[in-house]
């Protein structure tokens, strides 16, 4: 197979630099272009010295021609940008992976409600494939446009999936208590994410309603075959990377949940998945165990043998929760080994 020419739009944020780190080491990819209006002309390695010696590219002005010559273009832009540019690229035969939220919600009305913008291309929305490989692998392989999932939605859906698929729990009262490192808030100058504001402290945010709520509900509802009920509370945690999702669901008699061997259920469900690792019973996954790696590690509990299931699901928000999953999707779309370029071991300590 010949090398894949990849372009990145908007590569100055954290998902952008993480894409660069992963793609620079990918055996089948040539980084062809990375655009940034604000940094055009600046060598990428000037902005991110960790890339010195690894990435020679400079940021270029956004340019349809340059991107149109790529095989795949990743959007690592703020929400609302990709939807204005995707049509042109698709017409040029480029496949697109959007790391922002523009194509994650199938219903343009719901999108507008949560993101405050009218959707620029509802007609394209219909063909976008939600890029969670553990659910949609075949559709991703055939897709021209993949909506890369959000970070919380990845950790939460992978944690709940086996329970929902098996119909074991009361899916009207799911609880997802999620903790994220601060890089999830992006690289933009902001007071709330200054070290002096958020180190040595913990807080919930968006309790009244967070944009990842409809995305998780959509994903789990598809699997359930009906609308699920979910309470989702994200928390800001004083660390750079990592998401820890702690999930709560009640087993129901109907589903014979109380008789199930949940450990076996999870191990079987994910046995063939290269990037989901079900830990032995009694384990407590640490977010650092996936730092820099494209892995989701999961543990499942029934405390005191009661009717509550507790699932612990950890990912690196910038890898399996963003750029790593985007590369995984690219691998699937281009028929590569799904793990190509994604074999790095998590950095511990």
């Amino acid at each position: 197979m010949s090398t894949i020419k990849a372009g990145i739009v908007g590569g100055t944020g954290y998902t952008g630099v993480e894409l660069l780190r992963l793609l620079a080491a990918h055996p089948e990819v040539e980084l062809a272009a990375i655009t940034s209006r604000s940094e055009a002309g600046t060598p990428v390695a000037d902005l991110f010295p960790n890339l010195r010696g690894h990435v020679d590219l400079a940021f270029s002005e956004p340019d349809g021609k340059l991107l149109g010559d790529c095989d795949v273009v990743f959007f690592a832009t703020p929400n609302g940008i990709a939807m204005t540019q995707v049509a042109e690229l698709l017409d040029a035969g480029v496949r697109v992976i959007d790391l922002a939220a523009d194509f994650r919600l199938q219903d343009a009305g719901v999108w507008q409600q949560w993101y405050g913008l009218e959707h620029a291309c509802p007609e394209i929305l219909a063909e976008a494939v939600y890029g969670l490989p553990e659910v949609n692998r075949e559709a991703i392989a055939a897709a021209r446009l993949v909506a890369n999932p959000g970070c919380y939605p990845t950790a939460t859906q992978l944690g709940f999936l086996p329970l929902i698929e098996a119909g074991l729990v009361d899916d009207q009262r799911l609880v997802a208590d999620c903790k994220s490192g601060v890089s999830g808030a992006g690289r933009k100058a902001a007071q709330a994410t200054l070290l002096a504001e958020c180190a040595e402290s913990m807080k919930a945010y968006g309790v009244a309603g967070h944009r990842h709520l409809p995305e998780i509900r959509q994903g789990l509802s598809r699997v359930a075959g009906h609308a699920v009920g979910l309470t989702f509370v994200p928390h800001l945690t004083p660390m750079i990377r990592g998401i820890h999702a702690t999930l709560y669901a009640h087993l129901t008699d109907l589903g014979h949940g109380l008789d199930m061997d949940l450990q076996a259920l999870y191990e079987t469900r994910y046995a063939a998945e290269p990037f989901v690792d079900v830990l032995p019973a009694g384990s407590h996954p640490e977010t650092r165990s996936v730092r820099g790696a494209n892995t989701c590690r999961i543990a499942v509990y029934r405390p005191q043998d009661g009717d509550m299931v507790v699932v612990l699901s950890v990912i690196d928000n910038l890898v399996k929760g963003a750029s790593g999953q985007a590369v995984q999707n690219m691998n699937i779309m281009f028929g590569l080994d799904e793990t190509a370029g994604l074999a790095a071991i998590a950095l511990v300590p």
Copy 2:
């Protein structure tokens, strides 16, 4: 009122040094003795240089006579120590506040089940008062022996109390997802709490069963008038101080929960409490807002006006979750202003 002579047993851990910090600044207290077998003879300020110029005392050998001359003795010892020494002190007319768990569970059998030791003085257990002032103020005032609550139990009970008292929620399926700073694990050398092991990472622990579970259940069950059901999951968070409890409960029709103004319920419940601060609707309390202070800050939500209540409750685990609450209990026991010595403003940033 004359000055209160206070003694501390086992003052080399974090609750010990925090007691020293608070008592050294208390206008009505004289620090009379602090014992530590391992550090006897060492000036306290050699071990804790922040106390230089504030505390002149040296650690002394444990000594019944010295402690017997005190008005009040605080136990800042590991679990299982206080129960072997309290009888003698009570006989000598000393009042005792135990910061460990020895007298928190009223049922000696339950205590033995969770703490793995036979209780040394079940007969004294009966008279011990659980030192959560917001529930037991009058009993504390009359007590000879106060069992100072655990850190998670303080944050969790204060968060759930108004809902349980009002009978508004399904109290068989309560969820407490709690995040603690690492100082909660103590000052003992341990691999798991090394900075290089637990910084930049998040994990749950004790999911199968944590010792604070029966303590919280006991406290909430007393208020409910029957046994409540609770799932409790503690998490280790990469910060020194602070507990963030995120609490979930379903409103029930029976209790007319859906009609309630929860904000008003909480504000009314805690209006007269000097150390519980109900934040305005829509707030997200940060643990740093109580760092070093004896305050519990609470916010209450009904996301999307559904039937789930989410309560956010933060404390400093070493202050309202331990030593500050112990001083508050002492103030109540000796008829002092309840806030004496506890007026310090939280340190932000």
Copy 3:
């Protein structure tokens, strides 16, 4: 003595909230006004929830009348603001303490060179007193206008002073290697001080020249009686508060430095100082030992009995390095006990 009416100009940054924390607890001060153009009308405690229940004031529009009625006004503003407003306040009989740099450098030309602005009131500059009490206590007591020292200059000057005063070292080749917590960079939204940018990392900055260099040189040169030579390298450290200055100087024969008992020199020099604590020989001061406290802790070494002196000097950059020292200066200016309102013990852990 009657209560002192204090005003704060620009209280939304870290030195502002720290002033509020200290003044709210000061027994002789009434907080009369705090101004902020951007936050006028907002209760202070809405911005800083740690102040809930302690500070009832709201931010007000900058207003000469309001401030003119104060006994003392603190400027906690960016550089270049105080110099445009001080004249009016002095004329109204108000004493002023500027926490910014406007009045720190006696030479208006040097000021302009390092701060890039023409000085607005060089005639007032002449009467401004540099507010390092350990050097200028008497002048501060008589001053109408005090220039509160910078954070690095405080730690560095206190560390070098005894050596320079005694003429023991080669003062042409002093080295100050300083490490600061991130709060020193202020509360303004900025990319460089995001947690995700500066946690888990260390870097020097301003090596080519930092604004605190001329300030330190000015202070040490005054003491030496001639211009000293200094290399000053500040570093950004992944913590919120604290400065650790590591100082290097060569002992000279001329000064009989090699015969000196440096420990005794330091202890004697600071014996009467309430806020400088010389640690026992062999100690390594930790910045946390002064967290929240107005103390500078110092240790002095002659490694391997050679001719190099190494001094370790730690402060809390927001307290002895800013707001605490400002309150200390106010106490001196108004004839109060110098330690009034500054007795809090450092928060450890």
Copy 4:
């Protein structure tokens, strides 16, 4: 070339797990054995879950036979272990890389003075090669036994080398002010490195004398051709990985130092080095820019064009400061591409 069989003695510490991470991804290496008396029988991935799916090996009892069959054995043991076991392995034809200090100091008497043990094999000491490839590449290629340098010595020597080699500075008064992340203290349970003890704080340690002082002096003295004078002060910094060395030296007329283009000197010296990156003039290297990478990044300054040179040198203490450098040495010893297995890009953020 056939695959290299590698063994690790004592792989439960941080240099051990880092070796595992690097060797597991090395294209020419087969991990043949890893020994640990305390963990014998435990799968490596049970202790370090980040290795799940990457390392299938279990810890085995220390066993001469097993190790004797290896091509190379790494000692990731505490000081004093390797010197008792190396002779046997060398006799069996195994090449050895010791990551501890046993063979770093050529003078057994000096070793004993600083490490407090009599050296067990002074006769082998004579043939050990100090494994700093930028100085000793040829000797390393021919060595049977390599003493892998310490972390501080690596950052400090690489920073000073060009100045010393060119004879530009007063080498009797060198200053190395070094800051290290906490992982440098190892994975052993210890009170001093608990997160609650050393997060949010900074301190110097070992000012009176640290074991890396004679090692740095030995290295620089060899290059200088005479004994150099050095003051070395290490600091504990609240982060996991990373060393930042800030180096100070006076330019001398003798060496025409004042005329030199230091930037060119450094760029030329390291132009051919794959793992030393001289940054553009005016840069401030961050430790995170080498996190997880085998790179040393350096910047050089002459502040205010004076006679003081300031060099900033950063490494990851566990990679270029330990395990990465050990792999680099192995690559050289076995004639592999020196960068094999060491191409990973630093993890930012």
